[in-house]
């Protein structure tokens, strides 16, 4: 075997290994219902849930009590409602968001989000808001 061939073989193996392990590890988009079931199998594993803020229910954020505690209710694409707890200040575009992507894991009766991405339509679309 030439040195070059050994190296190329090792590299190819490492590359395939990297891709396989990446795709094996990467979290999936799921619904709250699946999150509850999956949480029993591997507690603490993170998932992404795409959902909407339930604007009928209150969003609790009282920084004077605890600046790192936010509680709200979200509805996923299958219509299931879930309490969400988030350990950071309230994302300010949350209430106008069309969609929230929660990254976190399911506890018994609530979803613990470690990060929240708000998708706001107005960020991308033009609205004649400023025009008078």
């Amino acid at each position: 075997m030439k040195p070059l061939h050994i190296i190329l073989l090792l590299m190819a193996a490492a590359g395939i290994g990297a891709v396989v392990s990446l795709y094996g590890n990467t979290t999936q988009y799921i619904a709250f219902k699946d999150a509850q079931e999956l949480a029993k199998e591997n507690p603490g594993k993170e998932y992404h849930v795409v959902c909407q803020l339930n604007k009928q229910k209150p969003v609790l954020y009282n920084p004077q009590k605890d600046p790192n505690y936010l509680e709200f209710w979200a509805i996923d694409s299958l219509g299931k409602e879930m309490k969400v707890i988030y350990g950071r200040p309230k994302p300010q575009d949350m209430e106008r968001s069309q969609k929230l992507v929660l990254i976190g894991y399911q506890e018994e009766d609530y979803f613990r989000a470690n990060s929240i991405l708000s998708k706001c339509p107005s960020k991308y679309e033009d609205e004649p808001v400023n025009n008078r």
Binding site: K2, I7, G15, N25, Q64, P67, K90, Q92, P128
Partner: protein, 879 residues
């Protein structure tokens, strides 16, 4: 609608601009064709024509650029681009940023650099001019079709080719024409009267780094095209060696500029975004990192090819791959496919199909260049065109009912054809360019350089497959979420170390073979000194984890080995130091990345403090709840809080300049106090918030820079965002200046200090100065009362203080009888009360140790690249 004569529109600049876009496309096509002919027949006349065409093209690009800038500068909001991306209040230096907020402007910027590089190559490329410029003109042709705007704004026409920056507002948004009907401006014909201001530039782009970062990045992208063109030209003209020297120079230009552009983007993120860092493995960042990784490895493969004649295949492949990745980056960021994966906002102009065709047709150039037989080349072109046509027709006329099925079939056909052609290309290229030579020696420089390049490719494989998750989701119907930063870090840490090690010691190997004993001695010295330096600097850094300590050691070695190499090579001219300087700078950069991320300290962490939310129903600590992030503290106004070694006090809020400014700066005073009570150090930071009506609360950090660390703060919430309870307990009292009144609860005393008269557009009025006192706290209120004589009515503007929970409003003025003194005027004042609310901010503060190493390393690296480029240019000129 068709026949409305719209008032106030200025249409000739747009028409002129549109003319230049078409001219640019035609001239690029002409230049590409004539250069193609001239590359084959080497006729001087064809080359002359090609040059003229290219000059016309370059002039058109400049003209389009100028006209678009003029439209933005003159606030011509009848043009959609100006309305969408600028506004009246935008300073001139940010008007240039409008060019890269929109897709059309970005393409224009890219074309501008391409044209400039083309003009340089026309003068400098010599014999290579025709084949190289043919490729460049073809790229330019592809990009200018992105601006054509054919079928834009027309619902009947199903195919859109490009998007023109000169499209009109009323064509892009016909719905806006309906708005004036409601108003009094006289119908849609006068619609412009209500569009006197633009939509404005994204607030986050209004940063000085955003003026310079995108042009640098696009220049990096544009320079990646030149080695690509040389590689194609080398294959085309069957010239195995001649293309390498210029390609090395241009690849070094590209690595240097693209690298600088990427880090500038990181610096912008650090300065103006609130995620608290400079790199987040966001798809947009990765998109520009990918071509950089490959161009860096390509430049080393080119060096090997030049010095030893080996690895020609790898050099060709990597140079071409790098440019494909530039196009892939464009596809990723401009097609809207990343929608959910990135925090960046993307514009999707519905051109993803065209972007894909652009990417594939430039990859097609590579395939064609690898084929020797003219017949094969013709069949490949025919096949590609046929496939594009069939797919377009199927998409358009395939019918709604079986659309999903058709899409599936097309997708899989596409994937299979692409994979097949791609593998075939690699095989053909290998056959064309393989080099028959004896085995490499274990102690040769080329072998270890090659290994280093392979590690960079592995690094790319990981970044590529993780960043492309949304693409694969779409292709294969997965539902994978985008990869997290930790997943990237876990791989890249271990891939970076061997690369760094090889960058450190690679130069100690000689081409072809090295004397093992000399090498061993040198490497042992390097390792020993590096170990000593590592232990020394770690006295300050205090890194404990073995893997990070190892990383630190390799990073230090990268620096030490290259500096020592320079000492050994004193006899060389200093310009030849470029490679070592760039390597050493990269070492400093990576050590900075390591220390500033591993050792960063969240000063506002409330770890260990128990909050009510962490207790369960029995009042005991709920262990599950404790694991939360806990990274913010609340700072009440004027109440000092200990943050790390500092005492931080939120002192006051400062409104941004201008009456309707929505910017707020929060002055936070940091003091470090010695044990004896004296002041060791103090400074104020001004983290900013903007309660943007479109984007929510935008927080801009404020940072104190020291040489050895940064103190980084940003505000995540502030008291005025809280929902206010309404005022109540209203009470009306009559009082004259100098007198005091009490609110209904009797807790707040209001004293009228003085009266001032004023005249405004609304009429004449008075303003009161009232001092409100509640226990120890006081506030000054300025309620106003305006009388409009013409319309015979009056209005009041109440004043309030949240901190005291009081409102004062002038209900009426008791006009004095004739003969009475003017100061006897009495006011009927309405007061209201609510719970006083303290002013506070919720703030996060992070200490980044040695982050300056990141910036310093970058600067040194770029200087190194510049030296290497100048050296190569001089060498090539004398050769």
């Amino acid at each position: 609608m068709e026949n409305i004569q719209f008032n106030g529109e200025l249409l000739w600049p747009g028409n002129l601009g549109q003319f230049f876009i078409v001219l640019c496309t035609v001239a690029s096509l002409g230049a590409a064709l004539f250069y193609y002919r001239s590359a084959n027949n080497e006729l001087q006349s064809d080359r002359q024509w090609a040059r003229r065409m290219f000059y016309v093209q370059a002039f058109s690009v400049l003209a389009i650029f100028t006209i678009l800038f003029w439209i933005i500068f003159k606030h011509r909001y009848e043009y959609y681009y100006a309305w969408r991306h600028s506004s009246n209040s935008l300073p001139v230096y940010y008007m240039i940023s409008c060019f890269w907020e929109g897709q059309e402007g970005s393409f224009l910027l890219w074309m501008f650099w391409n044209a400039l590089l083309g003009l340089i190559l026309v003068r400098k490329a010599g014999n290579w001019e025709s084949p190289v410029m043919a490729v460049i003109a073809f790229v330019q042709l592809g990009l200018s079709t992105m601006l054509l705007g054919l079928g834009q704004g027309s619902a009947e026409w199903p195919i859109h080719i490009g998007s023109s920056p000169f499209d009109l507002l009323r064509e892009q948004r016909p719905d806006f024409l309906q708005i004036p009907v409601m108003g009094t401006v006289g119908g849609p014909a006068n619609y412009l009267q209500i569009f006197k201001d633009g939509n404005g530039l994204n607030q986050l782009l209004q940063n000085y780094w955003m003026v310079i970062h995108p042009p640098t990045l696009f220049l990096g992208f544009a320079t990646a095209m030149v080695p690509f063109a040389y590689s194609i030209a080398g294959l085309w003209k069957n010239n195995d060696r001649g293309w390498i020297s210029p390609a090395i120079t241009w690849s070094l230009v590209c690595v240097g500029i693209l690298g600088a552009g990427i880090i500038m983007g990181g610096f912008w993120a650090y300065e103006s975004l609130s995620f608290g860092g400079y790199w987040a493995w966001d798809p947009v960042e990765n998109a520009s990192l990918m071509p950089w990784l490959i161009m860096a490895s390509a430049s080393h493969m080119l060096l090997i090819s030049k010095s030893t004649g080996r690895h020609l295949f790898t050099a060709h492949l990597l140079v071409q791959l790098s440019f494909w990745l530039v196009l892939y980056a464009t596809f990723l960021t401009r097609s809207g496919i990343l929608g959910e994966a990135s925090v960046h906002s993307f514009t999707d102009l519905g051109l993803s199909g065209q972007l894909l065709i652009l990417l594939l047709s430039l990859m097609l150039l590579s395939v064609l260049s690898a084929l020797r037989s003219a017949m094969l080349r013709r069949s490949v072109i025919l096949g590609f065109v046929a496939l594009v046509l069939i797919f377009s027709l199927l998409t358009l006329f395939g019918g709604k009912s079986n659309q999903a099925q058709l899409t599936q079939i097309m997708k899989w056909t596409g994937v299979i054809v692409f994979t097949g052609v791609f593998s075939w290309f690699i095989y053909q290229l290998y056959v064309r360019t393989r080099t028959q030579q004896d085995d490499e020696r274990w102690l040769s420089r080329e072998l270890w350089m090659f290994i280093g390049a392979m590690f960079l490719i592995l690094s790319l494989v990981q970044v590529f497959s993780a960043t492309s998750i949304p693409v694969f989701n779409k292709l294969f119907g997965f539902s994978k979420a985008p990869a997290k930063p930790e997943e990237y870090n876990a791989f890249q840490l271990w891939l970076a170390m061997p690369v760094m090690l090889l960058m450190a010691i690679g130069q100690y190997f000689r081409w072809r073979d090295t004397d093992a004993r000399v090498l061993g001695k040198q490497l042992i010295t390097v390792a020993a000194i590096s170990l000593a330096v590592t232990l020394l600097v770690n006295l300050n850094f205090g890194i404990g984890q073995p893997k990070y300590l190892l990383f630190l050691f390799v990073g230090v070695m990268l620096f030490v080995a290259n500096v020592m190499y320079l000492r050994q090579q004193q006899k060389l001219v200093w310009l030849a130091w470029g490679g070592s300087v760039a390597h050493a700078g990269f070492g400093i950069l990576l050590v900075g990345v390591l220390v500033s991320s591993v050792n960063q300290k969240i000063l506002t962490s409330t770890e260990g403090i128990r909050f009510a939310s962490e207790l369960n129903k029995d009042g005991k600590v709920d262990e599950k709840a404790v694991k939360f992030n806990r990274e913010n503290v609340i700072l009440y106004q004027k109440q000092p809080v200990q943050l790390g070694e500092f005492t931080a006090t939120y002192q006051q809020v400062i409104q941004g300049k201008g009456n309707d400014s929505i910017d707020k700066y929060f002055r936070v005073f940091f003091a470090k106090i010695n044990k004896d009570g004296s002041l060791a150090d103090s400074f104020s930071l001004y983290p900013k918030t903007q309660n943007n009506p479109k984007m929510g609360l935008l927080a801009e950090p404020s940072t104190r820079h020291y040489i050895s660390r940064d103190i980084f703060t940003h505000v995540n919430y502030e008291s005025s965002l809280e929902k206010k309870e309404p005022f109540s307990d209203f009470q009306e009292t009559v009082a004259a200046p100098g007198e005091s009144i009490l609110t209904s609860s009797g807790k707040i005393k209001l004293r009228i200090d003085s009266v001032t008269r004023f005249n405004s557009d609304e009429g004449a009025g008075v303003q009161l100065r009232i001092t409100a006192v509640r226990l120890q706290d006081s506030a000054v209120l300025f309620p106003k009362f305006v009388v409009n004589m013409a319309e015979n009515n009056f209005s009041s503007i109440p004043a309030m203080s949240s901190e005291l929970g009081v409102l004062a409003d002038i209900v009426n003025i008791e006009v004095p009888e004739p003969g009475q003194a003017a100061d006897k005027v009495r006011f009927l004042i309405k007061t209201g009360e609510r719970t006083p609310q303290k002013n506070y901010i919720v703030i996060k503060a992070i200490e980044f140790p040695w982050i300056n190493l990141v910036w310093a390393g970058t600067i040194i690296m770029v200087i190194g690249f510049a030296m290497a480029v100048v050296y190569r240019v001089k060498q090539n000129a004398s050769a």
